[in-house]
């Protein structure tokens, strides 16, 4: 019963995430590239999307993390690694380049599957291949 409730909540969370991306225009690669085009015709929308999300998470996350455990499950699964290392910076830099080239980050790419564009599928398959290569070549 708890498992079913957990899955329904996860489905709802996925739905809300996808609804949020679609409503805010973040599934539109032109809008995202417009945000990254700071020396050109800059589109500020992505900043407001991040602000909207952060207003909620910054206020509520600390309240949740006061708890000993989540409502379903025995412990929080949070990253424990805190060191700023070369992998973090190089990886994020690579992601930034890829993000700018097409205008997709992983979330919007997957959320755009239902639009039925072959370009989206090529991007996602390449992205999975990139992650797979990374996991096989680095430790």
């Amino acid at each position: 019963m708890t498992k079913l409730a957990e899955y329904l909540i996860v489905l709802l969370a996925g739905l809300l995430f996808g609804i949020g991306l679609a409503l805010s225009g973040m599934n539109d690669t032109k809008i995202v590239q417009g945000f990254l085009d700071i020396f050109g015709l800059w589109d500020s929308r992505l900043i407001f999307v991040m602000l909207g999300a952060l207003i909620v998470t910054i206020v509520v996350f600390p309240l949740i993390l006061k708890r000993k455990q989540p409502l379903f499950g025995s412990s929080f699964h949070l990253p424990t690694f805190i060191k700023i290392d070369r992998k973090l910076v190089i990886g994020s830099a690579m992601f930034g380049i890829g993000w700018g080239l097409v205008g997709y980050c992983p979330g919007p790419a997957i959320a755009s599957i239902s639009y039925g564009y072959w370009q989206t599928m090529v991007f996602i398959v390449s992205m999975l291949a990139g992650a797979f290569i990374c996991s096989k070549t680095t430790d």
Binding site: F17, D37, L71, H77, F95, Y104, S114, F123, T138
Partner: protein, 144 residues
């Protein structure tokens, strides 16, 4: 600069709040970070593939936009670039980079910053700066 209409602005803020609420639900109920890379790439790991919640989250992520465009009658975005090598290269380095850096816009940008994680703040600033550089260079070679 693009002049945003009031609707653009409102939908951006409201859409952002939806994403924030999604992250809150995941943390409060399941104790997990709503990071799309982490959730998706774990499915490539044979030890993780049997955990159904990741598939269920991604199913919601795919169905959500269908719901919006259907109910709200919002126009569907145009297709991304049809430059095949560019799509493949961008996909490969996005996948490799987010795996290496342990996160993307959702995991680092939305959830990590809310936990005041220094790693996530560094990651977010880094991918933003390189995103700016990437689009700048793309415009120089005329692809955008």
């Amino acid at each position: 600069m693009v002049e945003l209409t009031f609707t653009d602005f409102t939908l951006a803020i409201i859409g952002g709040c939806f994403i924030g609420v999604s992250a809150v639900l995941m943390l409060l109920f399941v104790g997990r970070i709503a990071g799309i890379c982490g959730i998706t790439f774990s499915l490539l790991d044979s030890n993780q593939v049997k955990k159904p919640w990741r598939w269920i989250f991604l199913l919601g992520l795919i169905l959500g936009p269908m719901l919006v465009h259907h109910v709200y009658n919002l126009p569907i975005p145009e297709a991304p670039t049809d430059n095949l090598p560019l799509l493949i290269i961008a996909g490969l380095i996005t996948g490799f980079g987010t795996k290496l850096g342990n996160g993307c816009t959702s995991g680092h940008g939305v959830c990590g910053i809310a936990r005041f994680s220094t790693r996530s703040i560094v990651a977010t600033i880094t991918f933003m700066i390189f995103g700016f550089i990437s689009v700048f260079l793309l415009k120089q070679v005329g692809g955008f």
